[in-house]
């Protein structure tokens, strides 16, 4: 901000104008550098925003042969419509569905080993091992 100020004082009445112009050029370089630095900082600031939006998914065995998975985000926003896949351990999709209005999905418990994938897009995936799903 100080550089903008020197621009103002560098009026045409200034006897040391050439010096000032040089300084101004230097300033511009610094300005550009700081602009780029600023963009970098902005990038850093925005990166944690997506981190503040961590996907969450917990699944529970309802004890009646069904599993309910509850999805959401750490900032409390809804996961309604987010895709949920139940896959066998070798990656075969057994069940595919979408989170309900209440951000949950209930499915019949597969007879073999399985995993649940809560897929809210790149970097927003939660994997739950079927073995860890209890009442």
């Amino acid at each position: 901000m100080r550089f903008t100020g020197s621009k103002g004082t560098g009026s045409k009445y200034d006897p040391q104008e050439t010096v000032l112009v040089n300084q101004r050029r230097k300033c511009m370089t610094i300005y550009r550098a700081s602009l780029m630095f600023g963009i970098l900082i902005l990038g850093l600031i925005f990166a944690p925003v997506s981190m503040a939006h961590t996907p969450l998914c917990s699944c529970y065995d309802n004890g009646d042969g069904t599993i309910t998975c509850e999805g959401g985000f750490s900032d409390g926003s809804s996961a309604s419509g987010v895709e949920l896949r139940v896959e066998s351990t070798d990656g075969k999709v057994l069940i595919k569905g979408k989170m309900s209005e209440d951000s949950e999905y209930t499915f019949d418990k597969p007879s073999d080993a399985y995993k649940v994938l809560f897929d809210a897009g790149e970097g927003h995936m939660v994997e739950v091992d079927g073995k860890e799903i209890t009442e």
Binding site: E70, S74, D75, G76, S78
Partner: protein
């Protein structure tokens, strides 16, 4: 005249000493922030938490329920009163009638609310009724922890009472019938003796030693907007009791202090 002065001074000292034995309604469960859902134990004990002192007999509560909120879902209220079982809780000096239950918690915020039966405090000559709130979160997904439940007297947290690091501040807003109570008096106490749920008793050893009685029970005041601020010096459960929020309230023709209690659990940053 000197005698009178001494008597008055004596009474004043007694009056000042008595609050050191503050009553706190507890809704105790070991963890406020759980990674996974499951069955959690709940103990309702009316006691003096710092000293693990005299535990008062609780009557059958008027209401005990939980409001579960998860993300943007609508709150779900579940009555837990029918699940309560009577028990006896042993303090370091006596044992008192208390209640217990278990609850299956899934994801989100679980706001446990207790409206107890008024307790007759012979020593003070009035009833005490502490409407109490404890919030347990599962999985880190927040719900409506910051919203008033709508209890007649209530402390609404302004930070999650389950996510405080030791050394952070905690702010709460004191409400009576949904309106802020300016300059409300709040007593703060540390749950110094670990509750041992299997033994239904407090651990004999305390975690901290108070150099003087003023530290056992700390008194703070809310500001004009009913907001109080407290810096948390140690990990564990801290209780906040806003006192006598409805000065005209009576029970069975006697004065009844209508209080609001909330608990938080702080964790060391390691």
């Amino acid at each position: 005249m000197k005698k009178l002065f001494a008597a008055v001074a004596g009474l004043a000292v007694m009056a000042l000493t008595t609050p050191a034995f503050a009553h706190f309604q507890m809704i105790y469960t070991p963890e406020a922030a759980m990674n996974k859902g499951g069955k959690i134990p709940l103990a309702l004990v009316f006691t003096h938490p710092f000293d693990a002192g005299h535990t008062m007999d609780m009557g059958k509560p008027e209401q005990f329920f939980v409001v579960r909120t998860r993300g943007e879902n609508a709150p779900k209220k579940t009555d837990l009163l029918p699940t309560l079982k009577p028990m006896n809780w042993t303090s370091l000096t006596n044992s008192g009638a208390a209640w217990e239950t278990t609850y299956s918690a899934r994801g989100g915020d679980h706001i446990f609310c207790l409206i107890p039966d008024p307790y007759w405090e012979e020593g003070d000559g009035f009833y005490i009724k502490q409407n109490t709130k404890v919030i347990v979160n599962v999985g880190g997904e927040p719900g409506a922890w910051m919203e008033p439940v709508g209890l007649p007297t209530e402390i609404v947290p302004m930070a999650k009472p389950y996510d405080r690091w030791t050394g952070q501040v905690f702010q709460g807003k004191v409400l009576f019938n949904g309106k802020p109570v300016s300059n409300a008096e709040i007593e703060v106490e540390y749950l110094n003796h670990e509750p041992l749920l299997d033994k239904k008793a407090f651990a004999k050893e305390g975690k901290a030693t108070a150099p003087q009685d003023a530290f056992v029970l700390q008194t703070i005041f809310a500001d004009d907007n009913g907001v109080f601020t407290f810096g948390i010096p140690k990990a564990g459960w801290w209780g906040f009791a806003a006192l006598d929020l409805d000065p005209d309230y009576t029970h069975k023709g006697k004065k009844c202090s209508r209080d609001a209690v909330i608990w938080l659990k702080a964790v060391d940053m390691k």
